[in-house]
């Protein structure tokens, strides 16, 4: 970004070239065209301005204008964001797209406003599944007593416990050697991370249970938003919308590349599992986290969405 009048600063923890980073670049281009060069976006990728929890605060305070973040850090702040983070809430990636592109997604975006943020749109975060070094997991029985690394989040710990396995919160960087030495049996993640982390080298059984299909979100600082003219606000929203299909296309390509590489390296991919008992085991988790009537209603509407 160079010659435009106002440059919006945008943060992303993913590295350059990652689908979300490329999507915001596409958004910048579209924004520049839509505003006749008044606005464009400068991206700070690779967590240059801090980790997600920190950049969210910076966005709220108006130090940065745009931010691509996961929903996880919002779970304890905005209750609506817990819903797409629930295990097995979406039946498939298509189901997730339908829900998030529709009125429910808009409701969640609107909930950011109370926290000095403007929700602009959702990007894909991929679908997370379990991998381990011991055996192909085909049923809940197989999970019993195994140790999995999860992200530091109460709900993910509860999810793994409800499935009968042990959750071990570990720093991401320690996972590889911890699997290698048997401190844990495995972890869970999406295709590209399973590939780029090298975890497929030590944990070759990848069970596509898709327990989490959590979108990521692009937010804008309310302070920066309020400085824009109404027509520029419209342009920002439209440019963000333009970037979503770009992101999804890149994501699918990246997933496919990772899948091919990992398969070629000898990983065993398990797809023939009956997810029904997994979903049923989530009852206590839903009871614990879906507490208000508003959330219960939202879950029911998602489940009713085709």
């Amino acid at each position: 970004a160079g010659a435009c009048e106002t440059t919006l600063k945008s943060s992303d923890t993913h590295p350059d070239g990652y689908p979300t980073v490329e999507a915001v670049k596409a958004m910048s281009k579209s924004l520049e065209e839509r505003t006749d060069g008044r606005l464009c976006i400068e991206i700070f990728h690779s967590a240059q301005l801090g980790e997600e929890k920190d950049t969210i605060e910076q966005t709220q305070f108006g130090a940065i204008d745009l931010n691509r973040v996961s929903l996880g850090p919002f779970n304890n702040i905005i209750e609506e964001t817990q819903i797409p983070s629930l295990p097995y809430i979406f039946r498939s990636v298509e189901h997730m797209h339908t829900v998030m592109d529709g009125p429910i997604g808009q409701e969640i975006l609107d909930a950011f406003a109370e926290h000095d943020l403007i929700g602009l749109g959702f990007y894909d975060g991929g679908s997370r599944s379990f991998y381990n070094k011991e055996k192909p997991i085909k049923s809940m029985e197989d999970l019993k007593g195994m140790k999995f690394r999860v992200m530091q989040s109460d709900m993910f710990v509860d999810m793994v416990s409800a499935l009968g396995a042990n959750a071990t919160p570990l720093p991401y960087g320690e996972v590889y050697s911890s699997i290698q030495t048997g401190v844990i049996d495995g972890a869970e993640n999406n295709w590209p991370s399973y590939d780029t982390s090298g975890h497929f080298e030590v944990a070759k059984y990848y069970t596509l249970d898709q327990h989490l299909i959590v979108p990521e979100v692009l937010v804008m600082s309310k302070k920066s938003w309020d400085k824009l003219s109404p027509e520029d606000q419209v342009a920002v929203k439209a440019a963000a919308r333009d970037s979503v299909p770009v992101m999804r296309e890149l994501w699918v390509a990246q997933e496919k590349k990772s899948e091919e590489k990992v398969r070629a390296a000898g990983s065993e991919i398990i797809t023939d599992i009956d997810k029904t008992p997994f979903i049923e085991a989530m009852k206590p988790v839903y009871e614990k986290y879906v507490t208000s009537e508003k959330l219960k209603d939202m879950v029911a509407r998602i489940q009713a969405t085709e």
Binding site: E57, F61, N76, I77, D154, A167, P169
Partner: protein, 169 residues
């Protein structure tokens, strides 16, 4: 001035003891975490964020005491070549700048705490405001101890500096 110095001395000592106790507590917590994970085969999820929070307390309290006891790293080439009077003026300028920063710790630390107050910290289950309390507490002490330095200097009493004087109370 001497009676004020006695009060700040007690405050510094208490802060240091709290910090020391924090270090020992951190040692115990992480030792338990290791023991539970490898011996009892069970993970405790709150020891890590809990110890990180304790670390925050002992860093910012310890750093404030460091102002009083003069154990911060500093660079004093210029101070060797100027006259004693100029040197004292530079010390006071430096203390005033540090006071401004300490005040920033209090004001903006409070702002951060208020902003995070409605959030619940994962694994700990307490308000996000706790994350920023060490900054506020440390900031209060930074301001107090820096004011004490200036007051001491005006009263002709020694102030401590890295690699130079140690203070007596």
């Amino acid at each position: 001035m001497i009676s004020v110095a006695r009060v700040t001395s007690v405050m510094a000592r208490v802060s240091l003891w709290v910090s020391g106790a924090g270090l020992v507590l951190m040692t115990v917590l992480i030792a338990c975490q290791v023991f539970w994970r490898y011996v009892l085969n069970d993970s405790i999820s709150w020891t890590e964020p809990g110890s990180v929070m304790i670390m925050g307390w002992f860093i910012f309290l310890g750093a404030a005491v460091g102002i009083r006891e003069g154990y911060h790293l500093s660079f004093d080439i210029l101070l060797h070549v100027v006259s004693h009077r100029v040197k004292l003026m530079l010390h006071t300028t430096s203390d005033i700048v540090v006071i401004a920063f300490g005040a920033g710790m209090v004001v903006y630390g409070t702002q951060l705490a208020i902003n995070a107050a409605p959030n619940v910290l994962p694994s700990l289950g307490i308000s996000g405001a706790f994350d920023f309390m060490p900054i506020v507490a440390g900031g209060v002490l930074v301001v107090l101890f820096s004011i004490e330095r200036i007051a001491r200097r005006m009263a002709g009493m020694p102030t401590a500096r890295f690699g130079e004087t140690e203070i007596e109370d």
